[in-house]
Symmetry: C2
Subunit: 458 residues, 2 copies
């Protein structure tokens, strides 16, 4: 006999009970549908990768958060995936002979990071990535932005905008004021803190890093650090034109601006609403591996409880695939902050009502043991019509069975007693309003469907 142990979860890990999981799956299915509508197809990589695949890719701080795995006597050094991007590059390089370019894939799956557990931060959490490999042109960048917008809209969000910038432009601005190498990295790092430390903070940092005062002023003006990025295609066009004049002598900046012009043109043609896009030359997206356009969807909410960071973000990172391949391939991707989106949707009550409790639509009650076969037969009929049906298990008085349906949130109860059986009938009870409805046995499924429809029609 085994010693009994207290059931516990590892720190930072979660169980998802049905009620919550049904809502999570609702979100995941909806965004997957949107991805597929844009021609993105699912890819699944294993949870465990070789250590050599992951190490050296994320920086020393991140690497400390990787979970390592091994089995007794195992020779391979393994690790749980830390994100979905490095596995994508590894898998693409391994299988490219079987894939056609462009390769559009999505993956919605958990990753593991041993972050210090705190409220709302978990060690196993989902990432939701869309990437397009093999397209040099800006149509790919505009496409993944469109995918992100369509996914957010599909979930019911409308108060958000996508800020768009280009790493080439940022670097061009650096070159314009004479910065390169480490100084350029400092510039990136300072501008990236704009939201946190404000324009004055950034200016001070830049001055401290040794950039001349008039150049700092110039940079601040060029990135529009003092003003929030104005939304809309017209505003973006005006600002791009202005920068094109100023930076006319910096080829890289001009290249970045031309790319952005194309991105905005494609977004407009793709019917992305004007109020959902903004050119924001002050947006950096950390010190990541981006090489071209970058973008970030942010919530336009005044509610301080809804300051959740970006809803989605991504960009072009043309060097990624080169990690596992002789030459790299142009790649652009976007990641939806799916865990944040789920939290927001919970907070805002954005799930349709019937999802709130259970998937079961009908509870078939059992008057007594001798009537159980009749109940089973009815359930089988109802299921054939596509209904989700539970037969009451165990024996209990009818009142208890109804109370059980109520507690579980099952909307409809079927009653099949001696009287109904003798009359070749079934009685349904809609629990919300106790409405009862008698119908011939043969019409039971139709009647149940009509009663269920009546619950969602208004």
């Amino acid at each position: 006999m085994l010693e009994k142990i207290t059931p516990r979860l590892p720190s930072g890990m979660r169980d998802f009970l049905p009620e919550e999981l049904i809502r999570r799956q609702f979100v995941i299915e909806r965004v997957a549908q949107v991805f597929e509508a844009f021609g993105y197809e699912p890819l699944q990589t294993p949870v465990l990768e070789l250590e050599e695949t992951l190490l050296g890719k994320y920086g020393a701080d991140a690497e400390r958060l990787i979970f390592h795995a091994q089995h007794p006597g195992g020779k391979e050094k393994l690790a749980l995936r830390y994100d979905l991007t490095v596995p994508l590059a590894r898998a693409f390089a391994m299988h490219e002979g079987k894939l056609s370019l462009p390769f559009r894939r999505y993956q919605i799956a958990p990753v593991w990071r041993a972050e210090r557990p705190q409220r709302g931060r978990f060690r196993e959490f989902y990432q939701c990535d869309v990437d397009c490999i093999g397209v040099e042109g800006m149509e790919a960048d505009a496409e993944v932005i469109s995918v992100a917008v369509a996914a957010l809209q599909r979930l019911g969000f409308s108060d958000f905008a996508v800020k768009i910038n280009n790493r080439k432009l940022l670097t061009g601005i650096g070159m314009y004021v004479g910065l390169e190498g480490a100084a350029l990295t400092d510039l990136y790092r300072s501008i990236d803190k704009l939201d946190k430390i404000g324009a004055d903070g950034v200016r001070e940092e830049l001055l401290r890093s040794g950039i001349a005062a008039e150049l700092v002023t110039r940079v601040m003006e060029l990135i529009g650090a003092e003003t929030a990025a104005e939304r809309g295609y017209a505003a973006a066009g005006a600002r791009l034109a202005h920068l094109r004049q100023t930076l006319a002598a910096v080829p890289l900046a001009l290249e970045g601006l031309a790319e952005l012009e194309r991105v905005f043109a494609y977004l407009e043609a793709s019917e992305i609403p004007s109020e959902m896009v903004a050119f924001d030359p002050a947006m950096v997206r950390g010190l990541g591996y981006y090489t071209g356009p970058i973008f970030e969807a942010v919530l336009l909410s005044a509610d301080p409880e809804e300051r959740v960071g970006s809803l989605a973000g991504g960009g072009r990172y043309d060097d990624l695939i080169g990690l596992f391949r002789k030459t790299s391939l142009p790649t652009v991707g976007v990641s939806l902050g799916i865990e944040r989106l789920i939290v927001l949707m919970e907070k805002r009550g954005m799930y349709p009502e019937p999802l709130q409790r259970t998937l079961v639509q009908v509870l078939v009650t059992v008057f007594n043991e001798s009537l159980r076969p009749a109940a089973l037969r009815l359930a089988s009929q109802l299921r054939k019509a596509g209904l989700s049906v539970e037969v009451f298990a165990g024996s209990a008085k009818l009142g208890k069975q109804l109370a059980y349906a109520n507690k579980r949130g099952i909307p409809l109860v079927a009653l099949l007693g001696e009287d109904e059986l003798a009359a070749g009938a079934v009685k349904f009870k809609r629990l919300r309003d106790h409405h009862e409805s008698l119908c011939p046995y043969a019409e039971a499924a139709q009647r149940a469907q009509a009663l269920l429809r009546s619950l969602t029609d208004h």
Copy 2:
């Protein structure tokens, strides 16, 4: 700059590329729908469990196959889940205050076992479990059998049968011939080898273990070792009645027989076809933790390449929940051999045709860069109607774009050149038969849907 490494997978692990993954997801979605139709709801537990949760539950041989995990400096000893059953017991015991009884859950998820890799055996593979906690009566046993049958039918299988037995009956037979303790375990172990070593082999083993010859003959007769179990409710009823007479003096055997009678009665009421059930008193299901009825769905195929073991199996294991809880609760479950089913479905070509290649339904071609905005607008229109649409990325001659659609298996191509644009029209080309169809721009989505329907209608 990182040193380039050859992209490799850990041994026994797989990537699923879109074409294969789409088929796997099709199977998983279909069985999940069936589970939900019976009132089973999804539960998700984390991939990593505490070592203490898993160790001691599976036996020493199995335990050597467990993958252990840890992060640098981490204090918790973790392990990747080895099955979905122990995590269910752990999760149920932790959260039962938030769950109502009976708790019906399913989980379709990967588990990890460091088995020696060989053809068709993987170290990350999916399990697909349905369990019902809290029902003492045989309605739960009949229910999970019905769920397994309905799931197999939903996938398109019809040539299978569920063999059903009861551990109480097996133990009763042992008591009848005077065996208990270790001798009973030997009896189980020998009978379990019936398929492998045949009736003669089992007889020899039993004789060698010291059971008197006339008792061995008696056991072989009672379990029907010499003949294949006959299918159908009538045959089951006759055999149960026969055993009831012979074992009249063994209360445990009578209890087992009475349980089986109820199981068959409920299955018949649930409209499970007679040819899909068989009472098989020689079926043991290994040395597992079962305490009552046991069952196993087997393929009735003469094809030696289809000898894949059981398609599904399960039973009652009333002690499981007690691993993490003061008192146990009656539990019954069934596990679908989802990886085997997928292999069989591939071999038999059981997937509907449109699933074979890609999810993309329409490729919108791009005549030249200046027409890309028009192509994007059309794609946006088609997606609004629910279609899955890819816009050709990059620039290539039309012939190349059509060849791309062909290669990818995209069934329909939209053509939007200067002529069509000027005429306010769109041209579609059905690639299978090169059928072309011109329609007004506003009717594009309808036309595309009609053309796609025409591909699946026959």
